[in-house]
Structure formats: structure tokens, C-alpha cells
């Protein structure tokens, strides 16, 4: 089967990057070309998302691109296998959206612009590959492929201790993936396949031969670093703070989601382990939420602030995932829906926040909160956008943040009562730091240094508008996304139910 759409989605950015690398001329032309490529990519991503058939009886994996014998060696049977299901289709859309945002956010890059767009587009292609690959080895290949572009983006175009941060990002990530590879190899040499769609059934079939908990732990380690789960998070604030705006957008918006996405996938493969460790996941989620939020309160750098808020918000994903199996043995999809939706909403909201901070930094040349103030008077449009992003981040109803967090809480409370209450306290902290930041940056007396700052140009507003629309649409009509996610998490729910049923026998 070869549909072609997903192959196009993965290789269009990579091809564009190669073209720029080989033929690129002036910075201006490269930018226009990159913008066209990423716009086309968004259109493709949107088409993939919209064409995903959620109706009853539809195939789970759609738009399949499959070549069975990419590496047709019996000791190493790898296939070329791209497809989307309900879990990955929205993430493909998110990647397309943020890819375009990242290119627009880079319009002012003049330093080595050609190389910059090569890496940015290559990064997008690699992430697209992670979300659409359903062969475990291919998944791992794309997982690693994303490293080098990000390394270059941070270390060449970053600020502050950029080289240190880039190296830290890289070392942390490949240390995690070192364990993931061993996990994948154990799976392959036990069940004889890298096929992720067959894996849940094969793992069940070979359940006696697979050391389930160690394999789960090996795979989970990589995802936990990427998400990141405390205490593996220390690379994130550094990388975020020192990365250029577009890299921060991609990092917070889609790269962290790779970790969460991986957790969903292995949750389906090892439902029994997921059930056994769910209390640990719940604790990890709550620690993330509270730790992230508590540390945010001490931050004075806007980017660092949003970075730590990401740790806090990604905690909701883990918390939601932990609630799949209730204490009473009932399986509930509500928390999973919330967790999956949180991936999308956090991507859009944090992408927007990083973008806006990037705009402010370009104008004011500082991200130090105490130095800023009263910017709303000079740049009302940016201030309004920041307000929307901030309110969505703290979970105001009618924004996307509310929908996902309420789902997480609704799903989790029956299972982990007081833990959920603790986690919910994170929302209060979020409200605190977001409003505090908005107040100190946008309101109050204007520092005379910033008297002649100008508001966003129409071009700069394009990505802002795209993300605001995404946030509001999901907030008001959550079904647009949740319908798709629901079909994606349904198999996980079924796997858990089956596991429970088998366990009772």
C-alpha cells in the first residue's frame, strides 16, 4: 500500500532543506522558499488531519505508506511504514502548524540564514517522521535524526550559554534513546518484528518470553527524558532559554510531545505494566506540575519562565495517562482524552507564548521581567495576543487549556483523589505566575527606554493569528480534536480492558 501523503509530509521539509543547502542563494530568497515550503507542509498536514476518518468501522491506521522490505534481512527486518491513527493525526497537524510558525518567527534571522533554514526544515521533517513512523526502527531513526538540527539551531543561533545548552540537550536525549534502542532490540529479537501496529498483539502472544517491566522501563526512559519528567528535566530550561525563538517554539511545541506520544504507544503495548506503575506515573505527574509551577515563581527571564511552565503543563499529560485504570478496576478514557488533548493544546499555547516572547525580545532586547513594563501601551496587539495565550495557559474556559485540563482532572479524580487535588493546585500557581508576568511586562509604568517600540507588523501577526485561532477553536469546539484523539486512545483503553479481563481469570 502506498498512499504517498505521509511520505510527502515527511520528505517535503527534508527535500526543501536539501534544496536550500545545495542551491540556496540570498537570505531573502531562502526565506521566501522556506515559507512556501512550510505553508505547503501545513496544507498537507491539515489535509491529513481532515481526511482522517473517525467514523465507526473505519480502519484505525489510515493513509498507509508501506514498503515491506526496506531492509529485507531476516536478522533485521525493517519496513518502510508510515501511517496515522487518531493519536498521531492531530500531532501531524500540530507539527505542520508550528513548522510554519517557526519559519515566520525566524524572519529576522540574518546570521547564516541559509544554514538556519536548512536545519529548521530538517527538524520539522524529522519530527513529522517520528509521529508517522510505525516501524519501531524507523521511529528510532527519526527520533535520532532530530538531534543534529536542534543541536545546530541552539548552538549557532542561540544566546547566552548556547553551546553548553545545545550539548546538554543532545547528551540527555541520546542517553535516553540509548536505553530505548536496547528496549526496541529486545522486543525485536523476542517477537521478531519491528512493526508497531502488530506489537501490542505480539507482546501479548509472547508475554512469557518478554521481560515486560525492564523493556517498558528502557523505552520509558527515553520518553521521560524527552517529556521531560522530573528529575530528568534539567536540560529543558537551559535549552529553551538559550535557543532561538523558532527552536524554542519547535522544542516546546512538538519535541516534548514526542515523549508523551511514545508513552501512549508503549502504554498500549504493555497495559499490564502501565497499570502496575500508574501510581508512580501519577506521582511523577503531580511532582512535575507542582515542581514546574513552584520554580516558575522564581524566574525573572520570560523564556525560562515559560520553559518551567512547560514542565508543569507536561505533568498533566503524565497525570492523565496514569488515570486510565481506575482503582476499582474500571477503565476510563476521560483522563487519556485529557492527556492527549493536553499535548495539542500545550503545543499551541506554548508555541504562541515563545513566539510572543521572541517578538518582545527582538524589540526590547531583554527578557528580564523587572526591566520590562507597560509594553501594552506601545504594542497593544502583541499584548492582547499575550493575554490570550496566558489565559489559555492558565486554563480559562473557552480556551483550549481549559478543555484538556478539566478532562485530566475529571478522569484522575475518581482514581487518585487527593493526588489530583494536589495537582489541581498547580492551576492556581499557574494563574499566579501568568497573571504576574502579564502584569509586570505589559501593564504598569512604561520604562522610558522602550518609548519607541512598535507593535507587531501584519506579517508577524500571521503566525500569531493562526495559533490564536487554533487555541480558540479547540477551546470552543473541542470535538474537532477530541473526536480524533478518542479514536486514537480507544485501542489503549481496549488493551487495558483486555488485560484486566485476562488478569481476573
Amino acid at each position: 500500500m502506498f498512499n504517498g501523503w505521509l511520505t510527502l509530509a515527511v520528505f517535503l521539509p527534508i527535500g526543501a532543506a536539501l534544496l536550500i543547502a545545495l542551491l540556496g542563494s540570498s537570505a531573502a530568497r531562502v526565506k521566501v522558499f522556506a515559507a512556501i515550503a512550510s505553508l505547503a507542509e501545513l496544507v498537507i498536514a491539515l489535509a491529513i488531519f481532515l481526511s482522517y476518518d473517525t467514523s465507526e468501522g473505519a480502519e484505525r491506521y489510515q493513509l498507509i505508506d508501506r514498503v515491506a522490505g526496506w531492509i529485507p534481512v531476516e536478522t533485521f527486518e525493517v519496513q518502510y511504514f508510515l501511517a496515522v491513527d487518531g493519536l498521531s493525526a492531530p500531532l501531524v497537524l500540530l507539527t505542520g502548524l508550528l513548522g510554519l510558525v517557526a519559519v515566520y518567527a525566524s524572519w529576522s534571522v540574518e546570521h547564516r540564514a541559509r544554514e538556519y533554514f536548512v536545519w529548521l526544515l530538517a527538524l520539522q521533517g524529522a519530527v513529522m517522521g517520528v509521529f508517522t513512523s510505525l516501524d519501531f526502527l524507523m521511529f528510532f531513526l527519526f527520533w535520532e535524526l532530530e538531534l543534529i538540527p536542534m543541536f545546530f539551531l541552539i548552538s549557532i543561533w542561540g544566546s547566552g550559554r548556547r553551546e553548553y545548552s545545545a550539548m546538554k540537550f543532545l547528551i540527555f536525549t541520546i542517553l535516553g534513546s540509548a536505553f530505548m534502542l536496547v528496549g526496541i532490540l529486545i522486543l525485536f529479537f523476542t517477537v521478531g518484528s519491528f512493526d508497531m501496529t502488530q506489537m501490542p498483539a505480539l507482546v501479548r502472544q509472547f508475554s512469557g518470553a518478554i521481560p515486560a517491566l525492564p523493556v517498558f522501563a528502557l523505552l520509558f526512559a527515553a520518553f521521560a527524558v524527552k517529556l521531560p519528567i522530573w528529575p530528568l528535566h534539567t536540560w529543558l530550561p537551559d535549552a529553551h532559554t538559550d535557543a532561538p525563538t523558532a527552536a524554542s517554539v519547535m522544542l516546546a511545541g512538538v519535541l516534548l510531545k514526542m515523549g508523551a506520544y511514545g508513552m501512549f504507544r508503549i502504554g498500549e503495548m504493555f497495559p499490564d505494566v502501565l497499570r502496575d506503575v500508574s501510581w508512580l506515573l501519577a506521582c511523577a505527574g503531580v511532582v512535575n506540575i507542582l515542581y514546574g509551577a513552584a520554580v516558575v515563581l522564581r524566574q525573572t527571564d520570560m523564556k525560562r519562565l515559560i520553559a518551567f511552565s512547560s514542565i508543569s503543563h507536561m505533568g498533566f499529560v503524565v497525570l492523565g495517562l496514569s488515570s486510565a485504570v481506575g482503582a476499582a478496576g474500571a477503565v476510563s478514557p476521560v483522563g487519556l482524552t485529557g492527556a492527549s488533548l493536553q499535548m495539542f493544546t500545550h503545543g499551541a499555547i506554548t508555541g504562541l507564548l515563545f513566539l510572543l516572547v521572541g517578538y518582545v525580545y527582538e524589540r526590547a532586547h531583554t527578557r528580564h521581567i523587572p526591566d520590562l513594563g507597560g509594553l501594552a501601551g506601545r504594542m497593544p496587539l502583541l499584548a492582547a495576543a499575550m493575554l490570550v495565550a496566558g489565559l489559555a495557559s492558565l486554563g480559562l474556559p473557552s480556551t483550549a487549556g481549559f478543555v484538556s485540563e478539566i478532562h485530566v482532572f475529571l478522569g484522575t479524580f475518581p482514581v487518585w483523589g487527593w493526588l489530583t487535588a494536589l495537582g489541581a493546585f498547580g492551576v492556581v500557581l499557574t494563574a499566579g505566575y501568568i497573571l504576574w508576568m502579564l502584569q509586570r511586562v505589559m501593564l504598569g509604568p512604561l520604562n522610558p527606554r522602550f518609548a519607541d517600540l512598535r507593535d507587531a507588523t501584519p506579517l508577524e501577526l500571521v503566525p500569531v493569528a493562526a495559533l490564536v485561532i487554533a487555541i480558540m477553536v479547540v477551546g470552543i469546539f473541542p470535538a474537532t480534536i477530541t473526536d480524533v484523539f478518542s479514536t486514537g486512545i480507544q485501542p489503549i483503553v481496549e488493551a487495558l480492558q483486555l488485560d484486566l479481563a485476562l488478569g481476573r481469570q
Binding site: 533485521f76 531513526l141 550539548m167 547528551i171 541520546i174 540509548a178 536496547v182 532490540l185 529479537f189
Partner: protein
């Protein structure tokens, strides 16, 4: 000695003959550019003979043609290495064209010795008898020692001297080990050693539980043989010669040592251990030794490489680490599931070596090109290379990425395949140790990239490679990329070679 024996030896004879021709020709021709061309022609002839032998093997049901009084076997395993070594030699010859201009004299000898060493390595890959292995080993080592000293400055002289003395010591150790094996089994033929030990095992003379049984002599002999070969592949704790020799030797010679010499060393190790001691009661033990040496080599090489300022020295330590990775394949003799995957350990080692040849020669070709222009091998002098020589810098970065094992490179594919072999042999801990080691290695490989792409150049003059090195680079870099994306042909080749070992 029949005509057929000569035919079996034809790849080696062709190389040795052309080596002599080059040396003689050097006396008569003034345009030294002819010499590498003749050398390349010799390699081409050798490859043609190898290909012809490969073709003849198709009609052999045993998959083997043996001759020269049973000391030599032509099989797919040996031919895999002959092709690999020929390719490596050809690429190193290309890199040497501009490099040899600094010698003024003895250019013919340089190419001649290189070809002779290659011929010795090829012989090593086919030898099936202990004495011939020893002779082939000497034929490899002596020309390499002369080549290492070729620059005739103090460092190069030290390099050659060190290589000569230490390789003599290691040969002595190896010979001593062979004596024990011969004394215990009464034969020097690899296949007969297997038969004798197998028969003793069946008769109950060897107790599998008491490591190699009643007599510790065989175990002692095996340990000494491993020590002798360990020198060739620069495995810890026999690695101490590598950094000084690599740093001092002419760069093409270093390149040749790091890939060809290592590949030949692994060829002979694989053959000796897979053919002579295949019984599980024994393979368990030697595999365990290799597993331990593997971890030591990886860890030592990678940790010490971090602190190096000279790129050749850094790659010397990196080569120690990579010897450790290949040994993962030696350690992975057991299989977890089906017999269809029994060859994954040996074929993993072969596949990895193939990838390493492509990748490491890419790195060394860049080093040759750069040092021809700026006369330095210091990593700091690569500062700003991304602007001084964008193409060279990109190729070097690509090689470093491949050595780290990040896609889309053959370094990634071969590492995944090789660690898969470890997992298949229930050596998960070894796979984890290997992967953690490649994380450590990322630090120093990426440092080279960082220096090239982030530092300001000290002067703005442009750096480009000469034509011959450029051809070599194009070839190695494309192989690194192509087999990184589509490794199937190379894996198939490695597997068919590994099965010839009787795996």
C-alpha cells in the same frame, strides 16, 4: 604447489607483484604521478581475481576452495575481507597522492610497501593454519612499521620504532600461545584443532565446567592468542601503542592502520575462534573474554579521547573504542531465538567493519586534505572550517555523526545491527554499555563539529581538497550515506560471508 594454488593466491600475488613493479618503476620514471596509477591498477587486478574466485565459489557445494597444502582457504568470508581491504587500500592510495609530495624521495617504496601490507592482510583473511597466519601477520606488520616511520622526523621515527617493537612483542606472545594450542592438540590446522578438541570433549576429557577442562594449557594458549591479536586490533589492554603511532605516522598510513589493519585483525580472530573453537562449551568462555575486553576498550577509548587536542590522536582513541564495538559482535555467539539468526553476531562484526572503513576513511581523507593545506592536525586549527572549506567541513561533520552513530549514516545502522546481535545473545548489559559509550563519544565527536561551525577562523584563506583526495572523499561519504539509508546489500554480503565460517 599446483596452478590451482596459484590461482587461489592470485589476489595476493597480484598485489605483491605490482608492489615490486612500482618500486622498480620508481627508479625509471620522473613523473611520480604514474606510481599511484600503477598501484591502483594492481588493486584492480587483485579485485578482478577476487571476483573471479567469488564466481567459482558458486559451483562449490562446500562454499570453500582450499589449497597450498591446506594452509589457505578461499571462501566468502575471506573474499569479503579481500574486497574490503582492496577498497580501503585504493582509497588510501588516492589520499596519498598529494600527501606523498612532501617525501621527495622513496615515493615508489611508499606505494610498494602499502600494497605489500595489503597483500599480507588479504592472506591473513584466508589463512587457515597457525603458521601461515603468523607469516601473514609479519608480512602485514613489517611494511606498516616502515610506513609509519616514513616522514623521517622524530615523531614519525618514534611511531615506526614503537610499532615495530611492540608488534614484535605481540607476535612473540601470539606464537607462544600457538605453541600451547599445538602442544595440546598436536596440529596447527584450524579445522583439525576443532576436530581434536571436539573429540576430546565427546570422550569426556574436557570438562566444560572447569574452563577448558583438565588441562589449563589450552585456556592459557587461547588467552595468549587473544593478547597477540588484541594488539593488532588495538584492544584494551593492548592498545598503548596506538596513540603515539597514529599521531606520528603519515596520515594516510594512520588511516590505513585504523581501518585495514583492524579489519584484517578481526578477520583472523573471527576465523580462528569460529573455526577452531566453535563448541559451545568453549565459545562461551572466549565470548566472555571478548565481552569484557569490549567494555574495557569502549570505555577507555571514549573517555581518553575526550581530552585530546590532536585530531589524529583523538581518532586513535576513537579507534580503540570502535575495536570495542566490533568485539560486541565477537561476544555475541549465543542466540536467543531461532537458528536463522545465528550469524547475527559474526555478520554484525563484518557489517560494522564495513561501515567503519567508509566512515573513518572519510574522516581521514578530510584530515589529509586539511593538513596538506594548513599543515596542522590540531583540532583548534579546524576553527571556522565551515567557512574556509564548507564542503570539507560538511563531510567531516557527516563522518563525525556517523562515528557517533546518529542517522542517516551507516554508523547508525551498523551500531543498531551490532547491538541487536548483543541483545540476541542475551547480552543486554553489553548493548546498554555500548549505547552509553556512544553517548560519551558524542561529546568529543561533536566537539570537532562545534569547532568547525562555531569558532571564528584564525585566517580566512580557503581550504579545498586536491582532486584525488576529493574522489576518495566522494566515494566514502556516499557509501556512508547510501548504506546508512539502504544497508541491505552490505548486510547481505556480510551475512553470506559470516555463514562461510560455519556459523
Amino acid at each position: 604447489m599446483t596452478l590451482h594454488d596459484l590461482y587461489l593466491l592470485s589476489p595476493e600475488i597480484a598485489l605483491a607483484g605490482v608492489a615490486m613493479l612500482v618500486i622498480v618503476l620508481d627508479l625509471f620514471v620522473s613523473r611520480k604521478g604514474v606510481l599511484p596509477v600503477v598501484g591502483m591498477a594492481g588493486i584492480a587486478i587483485s579485485v578482478l581475481f577476487s571476483a573471479s574466485l567469488w564466481g567459482d565459489l558458486q559451483s562449490q557445494p562446500s562454499g570453500q576452495m582450499s589449497g597450498v597444502f591446506g594452509t589457505l582457504a578461499v571462501d566468502r568470508f575471506g573474499l569479503f575481507f579481500k574486497f574490503l581491504l582492496a577498497v580501503a587500500a585504493a582509497l588510501v592510495l588516492l589520499m596519498s597522492v598529494s600527501y606523498t609530495e612532501r617525501f621527495r624521495r622513496f615515493q615508489g617504496e611508499f606505494y610498494g610497501l602499502m600494497l605489500l601490507a595489503t597483500s599480507g592482510m588479504m592472506l591473513l583473511a584466508s589463512a587457515t593454519e597457525l603458521i601461515s597466519i603468523y607469516v601473514a601477520l609479519e608480512l602485514t606488520a613489517l611494511p606498516m612499521a616502515a610506513l609509519a616511520a616514513f616522514l623521517r622526523d622524530s615523531r614519525s621515527a618514534e611511531s615506526g620504532m614503537k610499532f615495530l617493537i611492540l608488534s614484535a612483542i605481540s607476535s612473540a606472545v601470539l606464537l607462544y600461545g600457538m605453541v600451547f594450542i599445538y602442544g595440546y592438540t598436536g596440529t596447527t590446522s584450524l579445522a583439525e584443532i576443532a576436530a581434536v578438541t571436539g573429540a576430546l570433549l565427546d570422550a569426556g576429557y574436557l570438562d566444560p565446567l572447569a574452563a577448558f577442562g583438565d588441562s589449563k594449557a589450552l585456556l592459557f594458549g587461547i588467552a595468549l592468542v587473544i593478547a597477540g591479536f588484541g594488539f593488532k586490533i588495538s584492544s584494551v589492554p593492548f592498545q598503548f601503542w596506538a596513540p603515539d603511532v597514529y599521531e606520528g605516522a603519515p596520515t594516510p598510513v594512520t588511516a590505513f592502520l585504523s581501518v585495514a589493519s583492524k579489519a584484517a585483525g578481526f578477520a583472523v580472530i573471527l576465523r580462528v575462534f569460529y573455526v577452531s573453537f566453535p563448541v559451545e562449551a568453549m565459545s562461551q568462555h572466549w565470548a566472555a573474554i571478548f565481552a569484557i575486553l569490549s567494555v574495557l576498550s569502549m570505555t577507555f577509548g571514549n573517555l581518553v579521547a575526550i581530552r585530546q587536542d590532536n585530531i589524529k590522536r583523538m581518532l586513535a582513541y576513537s579507534t580503540i573504542a570502535h575495536a570495542g564495538y566490533v568485539m560486541v559482535g565477537l561476544a555475541a555467539v549465543a542466540t536467543r531465538v531461532s537458528s536463522g539468526q545465528a550469524d547475527v553476531g559474526a555478520s554484525g562484526a563484518l557489517f560494522y567493519l564495513g561501515g567503519y572503513v567508509a566512515t573513518n576513511l572519510t574522516a581521514f581523507a578530510v584530515i589529509v586534505a586539511v593538513s596538506n593545506r594548513i599543515g596542522s592536525d590540531r583540532i583548534d586549527d579546524y576553527a571556522g572550517m565551515s567557512r574556509r572549506g564548507p564542503l570539507l567541513a560538511a563531510t567531516m561533520a557527516f563522518a563525525m555523526i556517523s562515528l557517533t552513530g546518529i542517522p542517516p549514516t551507516i554508523g547508525f545502522m551498523s551500531k543498531v545491527y551490532l547491538f541487536g546481535a548483543a541483545v540476541n545473545a542475551n547480552l543486554e548489559w553489553l548493548a546498554i554499555a555500548g549505547m552509553v559509550n556512544s553517548v560519551i563519544s558524542a561529546y568529543y565527536y561533536l566537539r570537532v563539529i562545534k569547532v568547525m561551525y562555531l569558532r571564528e577562523p584564525s585566517d580566512g584563506s580557503s581550504v579545498a581538497s586536491d582532486t584525488a583526495t576529493g574522489i576518495a572523499l566522494t566515494f566514502t561519504a556516499s557509501a556512508t550515506l547510501l548504506f546508512g539509508v539502504y544497508p541491505a546489500p552490505l548486510i547481505d554480503f556480510a551475512r553470506s560471508a559470516a555463514t562461510a565460517l560455519g556459523v
